[in-house]
């Protein structure tokens, strides 16, 4: 059932078994897993209220559906090395391994409206969809993304949540604090408020904060009943280790083999789903160069003046069983320049000559990278002096990158240059901003992927939640979302957010004796 907070009596005490704060990918995934069970769920959806960054009240969307209301749909798994403790990456290592998430991947695929599971090179080669360019497998791995619809969780799952007897969604209800027992070992209730002054409390057996990498630490920090440092913050870890995925254009590729490179690195379609191809440093290369993980895709700018480029795009569409994009435009281009096409094809296929000068299909290639950021305790979210519409302190972000982050990008680009050069595949040129260790990242930008601010750790001194996503030292408070990632790899976070949320949901089902 979905309702407005304005329909709740002012000062009411609402009871539930499970209270979920936040209605994005994590919150809705959790809530829908309990549909039809004996567990009474209350889902609270809010309302709008160092380094240059996107305004914090824009980058995360605080209404039903959360940030899935404006995400791009890129889905992929973390790689095995992302979970490992790497002796060259301080503070690295998850207390769980990839095997903890793998059982939840099939359900994650369904929730995110994706096709057949597959994110590694071997899978797509076996399916006959990918012919890898012969780069040194000791240096680079092929990696893939699937593009979600993108699933807008608020729209996609609204009807199911509305029809559920045991799930109540409260819209425009903002959490103003978590109230605990004097020892701070358990949450007694949470306080809610609307922008027009209505107030209520929620009492539950278990609570999950699923409000994103900025709001989760904020709610812990402003809940000071038992400890002025905030909940779960005995070791000053809440809000620290803020990480992003810097998106950058670090290099270009100059190749004499453009079609083979493009065929290996171009987006393709499989059973109606869009698949993106990329490269990442192999685990061996990361270990040898002592670098972070990252991923590289190729921006392939076609030669729009070339009739052969349009013919190629039509052929690709037909081969993949889909209507080629801009099909009408391309057909028209072929029809109006058919003599050039026929002449070129005659030269190419009967005389074994190159395509005519000026009619090459590819204009140029540029690399695009998504970078892992090293866990950095000085990169953090904390409470500022400024207050929001509810009188609560606004969060402040002090996002910091290090030389290690930039060196990792540079070393991988050089390794790619070596890999392409070793097979006669071309030459790589690094962008000028990448040539030194300064804080200049050119026109790079963050991907609005917030990780690390309530990180998972085996030892309470190193993080905020344990391997079950429960706040260290607390009995009934859990956190869902990418804020629990100890390290972020290069993978867009939503896929792992959903898988982790499913894992947490099944843990809570057991704990709450869901029938």
């Amino acid at each position: 059932m979905i309702g407005e907070f304005s329909e709740v009596e002012d000062g009411a005490l609402l009871d539930a078994d499970l209270c979920i704060v936040g209605s994005g990918a994590a919150g809705i995934t959790l809530a829908r897993t309990f549909i039809g069970t004996s567990v009474q769920v209350l889902l609270v959806a809010g309302s709008f209220a160092g380094r240059d960054y996107i305004p914090l009240d824009v980058v995360r969307l605080r209404f039903f559906g959360g940030t899935t209301n404006h995400w791009g749909g890129w889905c992929t798994t973390l790689t095995p090395i992302d979970f490992a403790r790497r002796d060259w990456v301080p503070h690295s290592g998850w207390p769980i391994g990839p095997e903890a998430l793998e059982p939840h991947y099939p359900e994650t695929q369904d929730i995110l409206q994706l096709g057949a599971f597959g994110y590694d090179g071997e899978t797509w080669r076996r399916r006959g969809m990918h012919t890898p360019y012969p780069l040194d497998p000791q240096a680079v791995d092929w990696h893939f993304w699937q593009i979600s619809a993108p699933t807008r969780f608020g729209q996609r799952y609204r009807a199911a949540l509305n029809a559920a007897d045991n799930v109540r969604v409260l819209l425009h209800a903002n959490v103003t604090g978590l109230r605990t027992d004097p020892a701070g070992a358990a949450v007694n209730h949470i306080d809610l408020a609307s922008l027009d002054g209505r107030r209520a409390r929620v009492r539950a057996r278990a609570y999950v904060l699923a409000a994103g990498g900025l709001e989760n630490p904020r709610l812990l920090l402003l809940s000071t009943d038992a400890d002025r440092r905030g909940l779960g913050n005995r070791h000053d870890t809440v809000g620290r280790f803020f990480g992003e995925h810097m998106h950058a254009r670090p290099a270009q590729l100059l190749t004499g083999d453009p079609i083979a490179v493009a065929e290996a690195m171009q987006t393709f379609h499989y059973r109606g789903h869009e698949i993106i191809t990329g490269l990442c440093p192999s685990a061996a290369l990361q270990r040898r160069l002592r670098i972070l993980n990252n991923s590289m895709t190729l921006i392939i700018r076609g030669n729009e003046d070339s009739v052969f480029f349009h013919a190629w795009q039509i052929a690709r569409g037909i081969r993949e069983g889909r209507i080629p994009d801009r099909f009408g435009d391309r057909l028209l281009r072929l029809a109006t320049d058919f003599d050039t096409l026929a002449g070129g094809a005659y030269r190419r296929f009967l005389l074994d000559a190159p395509w005519p000068e000026g009619e090459q299909r590819i204009a140029d290639f540029g690399f695009f990278i998504r970078c892992e950021q090293a866990p950095n305790p000085d990169s953090r979210v904390f409470l500022g002096e400024e207050r929001d519409a509810l009188g609560l302190p606004r969060p402040v972000l002090d996002w910091r990158l290090t030389e290690f982050d930039k060196r990792s990008v540079r070393e991988f680009c050089i390794a790619l240059g070596n890999a392409f050069g070793a097979v006669g595949g071309g030459r790589v040129r690094l962008a000028e901003w990448l040539l030194d260790d300064s804080d200049d990242w050119g026109d790079s930008f963050g991907g609005s992927h917030h990780v690390g601010t309530t990180r998972m750790s085996a030892d309470p001194r190193d993080g905020v939640v344990d391997a079950d996503c429960r706040v260290h030292g607390m009995d009934n408070l859990y956190i869902a979302g990418s804020s629990v990632y100890p390290t972020g790899g290069f993978a867009h976070p939503t896929y792992t957010i959903v898988a982790l949320s499913l894992r947490l949901a099944y843990h809570l089902k057991e704990r709450l004796d869901a029938a």
């Binding site: 100059l254 050089i414 790619l416 097979v423 006669g424 071309g426 690094l430 040539l435």
Partner: protein, 136 residues
């Protein structure tokens, strides 16, 4: 890195000949490195070296830039000149194959440098430097 910029067009032209050679099978590179023949810095460059360069002017400019950025590389030129001369005895095609193999081997072994952003094999830089020295 210095402020002197090597343009994409210049690198493209200068490396074109070597780039084609880079597709040669690796054994050709080994032949360049291990094959019999006279050695020594005084042996001179083979006459066919300029024939291997589609843009001799661009290659010389690249070589000058390479030596300016990595002056210690000058010591490696004499042994390479001997190898080039030996491989060049078989004509431009043989020289291209041999140099190409060596370039590929450099990339595979990580024997590369970054010059004004370009990731290039040391052999590429040294060949260009030889061309520059020859012109001087």
């Amino acid at each position: 890195m210095g402020l002197v910029r090597i343009s994409r067009r210049r690198v493209n032209a200068a490396l074109a000949a070597l780039g084609m050679a880079a597709a040669a099978p690796e054994p050709a590179g080994r032949a360049l490195a291990e094959g019999p023949g006279p050695r020594g810095p005084d042996a001179g460059l083979p006459d066919c070296l300029p024939d291997c360069l589609s843009d001799p002017g661009g290659t010389r400019a690249l070589g000058e830039r390479y030596l300016a950025a990595f002056p210690e590389e000058a010591a490696a030129l004499a042994p390479l000149a001997a190898e080039v001369r030996r491989a060049g005895a078989g004509g431009p095609a043989a020289l291209r194959r041999a140099v190409g193999g060596r370039i590929r081997a450099d990339f595979a072994a990580g024997q590369t440098v970054v010059l004004d952003g370009w990731v290039m094999a040391r052999t590429e830089g040294r060949i260009a430097a030889l061309a520059a020295r020859g012109a001087a």
